[in-house]
Amino acid sequence: MSTLSSQVSAGFDVEKIREDFPVLKQTIHGRPLVYLDSAATAQKPFAVIDAIRRFHEVDCANIHRGVHELSQRSTAAYEETRAKAKRFLNSRSKNELIFVRGTTEGINLVASAWGRTNVKAGDEIVISAMEHHSNIVPWQMLCEEKGAKLRVIPMNDRGELLMEEYEKLLNPRTRMVAVAHVSNALGTINPVRQIIEMAHRAGALTLIDGAQAVPHIKVDVQALDADFYTFSGHKLVGPTGIGILYGKSKLLDEMPPYQGGGDMILTVTFEKTTYNDVPYKFEAGTPNIAGGIGLGAAFDYVTHIGIEQIAAYEHDLLVYGTEALSQLPGLRLIGTAREKASVLSFVIEGIHPHDIGTVLDKQGIAVRTGHHCAQPVMDWFNVPATTRASLAFYNTTAEIDALVAGLKKVKEIFS
């Protein structure tokens, strides 16, 4: 194990990176915090915290509507994030990027604005068996309203989608294929490029839920040829309440607005309103300006470290963690896909995840327990809930060792 541990740290200065995250420097119940819940939300570096603080201290004003200096500074800083997002995702234009509250709103926007004008009775929407509730419920609501049918790509015991079954689901009635790039409950990295290509061949559009992918792997929306791609800033070391929806220009141009209000209009009279251009057509009301600026700082921070470097380091952590956990008797990993992000979801025979979570917390270890907003995944694996340790680039092998020691203590108490 120690050889593997030294291999993981080679070439990646995690201790230096940890200095950037103030929250990590604290004790919980007298023990150093071991934060293993980054798939729920990532911790924030000083760069992000400072950018938000600087906005409130120095530049604070509303955007897109003032001629005064502060408003111009705020607008420039907020719009700069759109330009950074363009580089980060490699979209053709920054006008293809809409600010949303997060992944959930991104999906709802498409299900509502695109879905209500393009889906009719008898049409079909395809999702997968490993979706987060946020990529199930908006489509269910749409299908119910329109009399359309929701179809589900099944998966195998490892938590991998069955591509031949997916192929069979596609037909001329398929209008949209909406799948997660990376599963939050299992860690599976789905072959989205292939999924998109197959959908396009059948004449369907695609929406990729990138919430768990963007923080961990390089995403290029042009290379993927995704029609819509959405993610949340807070899982990418940015603040909560801000995210991005990418959509191809042609689709966005044709879609009606999502919400009505200020900023999304060109002219308003009581007889008729003309809508603003994309992307502003989809951004009604004063947005989360501070969040947008914080997200810009998050893009810079992650780019500075390098998403490829992050992916490689996290993969090493995953290998280390998988091996360490597999040695605990009675522990069963849920989600063992060959292509996997750094998520370790597991159950221990005879011990409920909530009890595991509480005992770990007393040792300073933060993990997620429950159904991870993916109840169909729990049903498939026939477990009521799992314990999930999700690893980020600021985690260490020593923290995985602490988790293993913590789990031994859990077994001591409940055996």
Binding site: H352, H354, T358, V359, F414
Partner: protein, 145 residues
């Protein structure tokens, strides 16, 4: 430490829950569900002349919720409906307030540690929520929400 929460009695009842079976001749039944953690519970009661003659449960849940259901069944037998509902109120008070621990609770006092774990209060109250709906004849499954 964590042993304040997981006292011996709780561990014992979670590993070997008492009255953990279905009941064919129950005249009151209710189901409970905690959507946060997926815990499920079915409660069976035999109530005659307003007195709880027998009570049992089945379900899946964490140590706190299983032990709570088990100890609840033990403490209910022989109680009238009103006495059972009063006990429920006292139990809830034990978990959610800082007031002195009531002596009427008997063995249930082992749950006093739960008040220091707000995230776990719902685990301990699931069986009791279900009891309330069984005694008040609500047909919808009880939830902790």
């Amino acid at each position: 430490m964590v042993h304040d929460l997981y006292q011996e009695t709780i561990l014992d009842h979670s590993k070997r829950p008492r009255n953990c079976h279905t009941m064919d001749d129950a005249n009151r039944k209710a189901e409970g569900y905690n959507p946060l953690c997926g815990d499920k519970l079915k409660l069976f009661l035999k109530v005659e002349n307003d007195v709880v003659k027998d009570v049992s449960f089945v379900g899946s849940g964490c140590a706190i919720s299983t032990a709570s259901a088990s100890l609840m069944t033990e403490s209910l037998k022989g109680k009238t409906r009103d006495e059972a509902l009063k006990l429920l109120d006292k139990f809830h008070e034990l978990l959610t307030t800082d007031t002195a621990v009531s002596q009427d609770l008997g063995k249930l006092v082992v749950f006093c540690g739960v008040r220091d774990y707000p995230a776990r209060v719902k685990c301990a109250t699931l069986a009791w929520h279900t009891l309330k709906s069984a005694l008040t004849n609500v047909t919808e499954p009880a939830t902790t929400e």
